[in-house]
């Protein structure tokens, strides 16, 4: 398994149905953003349901609110909206080995949210995860895991074969922010795989069935 570390100054993950006026960010990227990153890196549509497993951990140093000028599609008009964003973001992706080549030379630019949230590949490393009792965080996990946290319905993957794209798989998840304190770590504990170097649990999603 490899771990790809992406770093970006800013990141923004919209709540899928809060799309008007003020746009708050989710605490961590939804699976569809991971699908977008993998697709951009590979240069073709990638489906999480075709990948044997994928895990991710996201953390940032804080949040802010940006005033953003947007240009209306299809007409000469602009608007100003408020967008919440993460500052100094890091995303660790856990993927099968064959993804190493893809991230060595990403085909398109990698984004942690919108086009202004440009990310760079900082490190690609082979890692081995250990199974143990550990804290999960900076990711989304299925409800069945029984961890308390914010529950929200999220798109797992979009179908890119159509324009506009369509949601292909939608599920409710527990959205777990990266734990900041020992207390938070304790409440997000579960038996799972751990990245011992980062000291955080990694939940490997297996949507391939």
């Amino acid at each position: 398994m490899i771990r790809v570390k992406l770093r970006a100054w800013t990141a923004s993950f919209r709540f899928p149905t809060f799309q008007s006026g003020y746009q708050p960010t989710l605490p961590v990227p939804p699976p569809s953003t991971i699908q977008g990153i993998l697709s951009a890196a590979k240069g073709e549509p990638v489906y999480l349901t075709d990948i044997p497993y994928v895990g991710y951990v996201f953390k940032s140093e804080g949040k802010g609110i940006d005033l953003e000028k947007i240009y209306a599609l299809g007409k000469v008009e602009t608007d100003i909206m408020k967008r919440e964003f993460h500052y100094k973001a890091e995303l660790y992706l856990y993927l099968p080995d064959e993804w190493e080549e893809v991230f060595r030379k990403p085909r398109y630019q990698l984004l942690l949210g919108r086009s202004s949230d440009l990310a760079v590949v900082e490190e690609i490393k082979k890692v081995e995860l250990e199974e143990k009792e550990t804290a999960l965080g900076g990711t989304v996990v299925p409800l069945e895991l029984g961890l308390p946290g914010m529950v929200h319905a999220l798109v797992v993957e979009y179908d890119y074969f159509t324009v506009p794209r369509r949601a292909k798989l939608v599920k409710p998840f527990v959205v777990l922010p990266f734990p900041r304190t020992e207390a938070e770590k304790r409440r997000q504990r579960v038996r799972t795989l751990q990245d011992t170097e980062l000291g955080i649990g990694v939940y490997l999603h297996r949507w391939s069935g």
């Binding site: 708050p24 240009y71 308390p148 946290g149 529950v151 319905a153 506009p164 798989l169 207390a183």
Partner: protein, 514 residues
């Protein structure tokens, strides 16, 4: 269909790919009892609509809902939404051109219960017979998305004569039809949402709390969303109860701050349930407005982590008056940097939600008073701060030894010694306090040392790795125990405080020597 300039080659590339059919779950087959009509989705607005439906039907699980329940609820909603005040409220939730609920003032004057029922029951027919679509609902992922054409067919207004997208007027906080930027790939038809989720989204105002300004105007709509889903029924039952009993929306007990109301709600519920009721429960509140006027479209998400829920529940049932003292300090003007400062009037609430320590609020330095009992403090330290129980017991033991020593001192010296601890803002001042207490022990002939060198190191690092935080936490815990045990004597000695104050200041300047 439009052309996206330079992206055209990608479009061509995409067209070459084999088309895949989106996987639909089995659609519901009308009133077939084995297939529930409605489901929990994970979306706060849709799930709140389901809570409204369940509570109006006096049922607990979506599986128990029958067609007649839905029809009765729809009839009730049609009647309710025509009552005074609801029109204005609905315009804050859906923007004022919701054609299903006929919110627009120009429609409103001709609106009748029959017309609202027609539209809502029409939507329910689409729930039972969702038909086919190439898209699945982006909220539940279960049913085919509703097309604008189909939606038009069930609307009983002149809106049916023109295209109607699934936008912010029928589902709060989606984009507008005029601004395609807000939809994936600029979809002209708005969001892909099914009839199931759209119908529930028309009902959720019944299960919402309305935060009003002091003048009684709508400040924002508060939707509570909990997991496990069943907890939503208890959290929202007052809102649905107000609508059912008096056709009024619930104004959140007149509270003008959403966080204050949520904390009060948890405390109130906790009086009727065991602490275990909250195990593993998390609550997220969505506080929003979706009006037409500039700047009225906003939303705050307020996450109440499980340990905070448990702490509020424990504090309000175990020592409510103490909890009130702890949380009584109001947010000042300088607190504007807190993420939640616009949502609460109380400093402790904002700090709790921000993940900051509220330990200083457990003590009243001015009156040298512990605001609550040690057990509540211990619960807070253990559940919210994550302090190891052993470390806490160790600190308590040290505090008790300090009390055992300084209570033997004369009043003025006792008061001065405590003041040294109160005023310790630097680590050397904190260390100096222990040295003086140790000396007191020797002078008073108290057997055994206050602590070993190892214990001393532990007290500085026993609470986390951040030295600057750790010793101040320990200091607050020690002060709490001292106030708890020696409050009466300390207050009696307070008249001598002024005299001793200058002397104590000098002690610090001299590096801690008496």
């Amino acid at each position: 269909m439009w052309i996206i300039g330079k992206v055209k080659p990608l479009d061509e590339f995409l067209k070459e790919q084999p088309q895949k059919d989106p996987p639909f779950d089995e659609p519901p087959e009308g009133s077939n009892e084995s297939t529930p009509l409605f489901h929990w989705t994970g979306h706060p607005f849709v799930d709140a609509g389901l809570v409204a439906l369940l509570l109006l039907s006096r049922k607990h699980n979506p599986e128990e809902l029958r067609e007649e329940d839905v029809e009765r609820a729809v009839e009730f909603a049609a009647e309710l939404y025509l009552k005074e005040g609801w029109g204005t409220l609905l315009a804050r939730i859906y923007r004022n051109n919701n054609p299903i609920l006929m919110v627009n003032p120009s429609m409103r004057k001709n609106t009748t219960k029959d017309k609202l029922e027609f539209s809502l029951k029409g939507l329910f027919k689409l729930v039972k017979n969702p038909g086919e679509s190439e898209e699945i609902c982006q909220i539940c992922g279960r049913y085919p998305a509703l097309s604008g054409m189909k939606l038009r067919s069930i609307i009983n207004t002149k809106e049916r004569e023109r295209p109607k997208e699934i936008t912010g007027d029928i589902f709060p906080l989606l984009g507008t039809g005029d601004m395609r930027n807000y939809f994936p790939h600029g979809n002209e038809m708005g969001a892909s949402i099914c009839a199931h989720c759209l119908l529930l989204a028309q009902l959720f105002p019944i299960a919402s709390y309305i935060i009003t300004t002091r003048k009684g105007k709508v400040g924002g709509i508060l939707v509570l969303h909990a997991y496990p889903y069943e907890k939503n029924l208890k959290l929202l039952e007052d809102a649905v109860g107000s609508a059912r009993k008096s056709y009024l929306y619930n104004n959140a007990k007149g509270m003008t701050w959403p966080v204050d109301f949520i904390f009060d709600k948890i405390a109130d519920l906790s009086k009727r349930v065991d602490l275990g009721y909250w195990n593993g429960v998390s609550i997220v509140a969505y506080y929003f407005l979706n009006g037409n006027r500039t700047g009225e479209q906003w939303i705050y998400t307020i996450r109440i982590p499980n340990p905070i829920i448990l702490f509020i529940a424990y504090a309000s049932t175990y020592d409510n008056s103490g909890w009130k003292r702890i949380s009584s300090k109001r947010l000042g003007k300088k607190s504007g940097l807190h993420e939640y400062s616009k949502l609460t009037s109380k400093e402790a609430y904002a700090k709790l939600l921000n993940g900051e320590s509220i330990l200083p609020y457990f003590i009243d330095k001015k009156n040298r008073l512990a605001n609550t009992k040690w057990s509540l403090l211990a619960f807070y330290c253990s559940e919210v701060l994550g302090l190891d129980k052993e470390a806490l017991e160790f600190i308590k033991g040290v505090a008790d030894k300090i009390v055992e020593t300084i209570e033997k001192l004369p009043d003025n010296k006792l008061s001065r010694r405590v003041r040294e601890l109160e005023r310790a803002e630097k680590l050397y001042q904190f260390e100096g306090f222990f040295i003086r207490v140790e000396r007191d022990r020797q002078e008073l002939g108290v057997p055994e040392a206050l602590m070993s060198f190892d214990d001393f190191a532990r007290i500085l690092t026993g609470y986390g790795e951040d030295l600057n935080v750790s010793w101040k936490t320990v200091k607050n815990l020690l002060l709490f125990r001292i106030y708890e045990k020696l409050h009466d004597r300390l207050m009696k000695a307070s008249s001598k405080e002024v005299e001793g104050a200058e002397e104590a200041d000098e002690e610090f300047e001299e590096g801690g020597e008496e």
